[in-house]
Assembly symmetry: C2
Homo-oligomer: 525 residues x 2
Amino acid sequence: MTLNGESLVGASAFKGGAALFRAIDPSTGREIEPAFGAATLTDAERACVLAEQAFDSYRDTTPEQRAAFLEQVAQNILDLGPALIERAMQESGLPQARLEGERGRTVGQLRLFAKVVRDGRWLGAALDSALPQRTPPRPDLRLRKIGLGPVVVFGASNFPLAFSVAGGDTASALAAGCPVIVKAHGAHPGTSELVGKALQAAVASCGMHEGVFSMLHGDGRTIGQALAAHPAVKAVGFTGSRAGGMALVRAAAQRPEPIPVYAEMSSINPMFMLPEALSQGAAKIGADFVDSLTLGSGQFCTNPGLVIALEGPALETFIDAAATALQGKTGATMLTPGIHAAFNGGVDKLSKEAGVKLVARGQYGATVCAGQPALFVTDAATFLANPALEDEIFGAASLVVRCADVAQFREIAEHLDGQLTATMFVSEGDRDLARSLLPALERKAGRVLVNGFPTGVEVSHAMVHGGPFPATSDSRGTSVGASAIDRFLRPVSYQDMPAWLLPQALQDDNPLNLWRVRDGELSQA
Amino acid sequence: MTLNGESLVGASAFKGGAALFRAIDPSTGREIEPAFGAATLTDAERACVLAEQAFDSYRDTTPEQRAAFLEQVAQNILDLGPALIERAMQESGLPQARLEGERGRTVGQLRLFAKVVRDGRWLGAALDSALPQRTPPRPDLRLRKIGLGPVVVFGASNFPLAFSVAGGDTASALAAGCPVIVKAHGAHPGTSELVGKALQAAVASCGMHEGVFSMLHGDGRTIGQALAAHPAVKAVGFTGSRAGGMALVRAAAQRPEPIPVYAEMSSINPMFMLPEALSQGAAKIGADFVDSLTLGSGQFCTNPGLVIALEGPALETFIDAAATALQGKTGATMLTPGIHAAFNGGVDKLSKEAGVKLVARGQYGATVCAGQPALFVTDAATFLANPALEDEIFGAASLVVRCADVAQFREIAEHLDGQLTATMFVSEGDRDLARSLLPALERKAGRVLVNGFPTGVEVSHAMVHGGPFPATSDSRGTSVGASAIDRFLRPVSYQDMPAWLLPQALQDDNPLNLWRVRDGELSQA
């Protein structure tokens, strides 16, 4: 498929008239053809109006129709073949195998939401029988959830497929019955155009209203803010920097009608190495830790940026092993020149902080945007006194905190900001300490791991990729896994509604074969 | 029980030192003894710190312990006996039968949440089995929901029991495992003290951490804002005016860590009288409508403040019947002099709006705060052109909108702000129109009724007392019914956690006998 540098509004494709820009190949720093046209505010307005027009018919589709549509999107993405992977490699610097894996994840995610839609538990259907003899009489009440309305999705740079145009936010919003408008990420506009057109084609072939999907190129501060401010838009999904996310959160709160913003922003993913676990496996844990730290050049939201451990010989073994492993790692191309510069700036700043010592760096990489991994060490007192040491450095950099005693474990756990993940390495002898740390970790993180590494986020039913602020702007949601659909729903109750007017999900004979709460009891009857 | 004018922080009771104030009997306009002491900012700080300290142990209680606690609160409220009803009558001007009914509702609500807690569906438990043979291996993942943390609840004036100290917000937050700090409503401080002490006693007798519950008297702008701004506080529940709710919403969004605010604010609860339904029953519907309008002096969030109907003889019959019925109603004492003054101001303002005609008033009431019911009429063009006609007048005032054709029904439905409820009166012949209106009503309201009146909000599983802005600040929640618990929860995922560290809800043998999603399938195994 030829790239035309186009935005998509409903069924149309056009080169936006606001400005021209090109993607940059981060491995060379050079621009790639073709030129993309940034969309205008008029284009944004059209996309929002179309989405609003599409909402009623789209949310009225049957679960089967909506599921088939999501599956068609998945198939159309697969049908793009190697062209998609090649363009994504050029634009992101990510290797082929990673992007093929990510495509599998993207397609799997769409198919999971197709299953979720068919299953129908997301509807939260509940029926309370009328009690006409009671004083006062109880009416017949039935509840189901419906979509919030049009959703604006901001793609992430670090998952050009799985968290971008047809990624998790889009899939879950579409599953919820919400039309989606994507603000394409400027780092991978060609990948976005390819996937956007695959999605657009599915809208057409499945007979959906064209307004179900639009995708605009352009700047987040202009087009992005305009989309998030539009009265037709009822929610925002975002993955990216804390500054970018908070700009959207603040803007949404200032709208005449405030709307939810699900911004997944910043996390340093602390790992607590409990004493017995560390003394039993320091060298191996140190080496494995570096594998997790440097995976994908460290460009994961769940990258382990902080290690907390008791000072002593085991920790020194861990640090030595990690340093040795790190020195064997060569810096890989980062996603964009901007991310690369920010990584270097973050490493530079951290190396100058009082009480922080550089332990090791990886090897220089061959490309202009290669991020050279870095490992630092400090002590608990220094860490607790300097909030800057909690700032996320996006990339393969991590800080080891030496604690004088386990009381400092607890102090650090309580001191930490909200996180996507928190990890403990534990052995039998660490039971009491693990139990005493767990409540704090539950309060601070969306996912708590034991004896593993936080990179690798399974797309399944029990996954939470979320967490307290500033990991996300709304800890009530997850942006990965089946529960992501819940973010875009609201409940509606129907009182004494005649059978001919009731939504299918709430009809007496349960034609969708849903699990429903009937007079308080869950059943599929 | 003697009233001492006290606030409660944890296990302590004390007269706050910020200022003295007394409740006012709205039937006489006179102050009632004793004097209450407004809490200081230091008191607020102590309550927040205690709540934070209580959170881990409280959320770790078993479902059975927490349910028994809620039931004890209910019992303690009943044990207050007639003293509670008498004080509430004095402070609210509401009649005895109404307050006895409301006490039943309050107690029923606490018991419903005890059932909800025991049932455990709110935990949203999900388990994904490890797939160690897969490439890459899938870890063992388990999800449950936990409480957000301490919740601040602002009591409402119009339900001094059911939406106040131990009302719906408090019951659902406690059920979710969240400590609660109540900012007592200034209109019923004595009722608040009685119920607060009943709740405090249950905390003690059930062996809960004292920080599980505190209650402070004082001004919303000082104490209320300080509570909502405290870093330990993780959510706010509010029922009241749009101005008060929005002040909290804006303040919460400006915190370093934004938190959810569930503010139930303003709704005019439109009723669409479809042509055949109206022509078949205009006179009866008109009279019944006035019963709903004037119930409780119109002081319900779900009061029917707007009627939309086709012009013609049936509508004139409806208006005549409503006018006659209204003229037979005597104004009853409103909750506070302030509410009474605002009602009079609203009625006065509406009567002066261009194109709006007063149809009828009820009789003067005997007390100083009696609200004299009022019915107005206008036409659709006037209504659509003047946003002020959508302003809620809290009390027994309603506006009938004459439409020239059914297209104006749709136009008005689309034009309306978000609502708690929307109602249609329909007959067989109205099917097509009803079907075409329903999607707009679902988008605009939390509850859609057919052939009934919106006053009367059942506490059950399928109830939604919520809706799009400005009915509430967050349409994803309901403040009445079993689902209200969901507002105060967030999901946490546990990865590869050893059995000895897993929460009970997620253990292999399902010791709590929960409905859980196992590898995507719901079961109680």
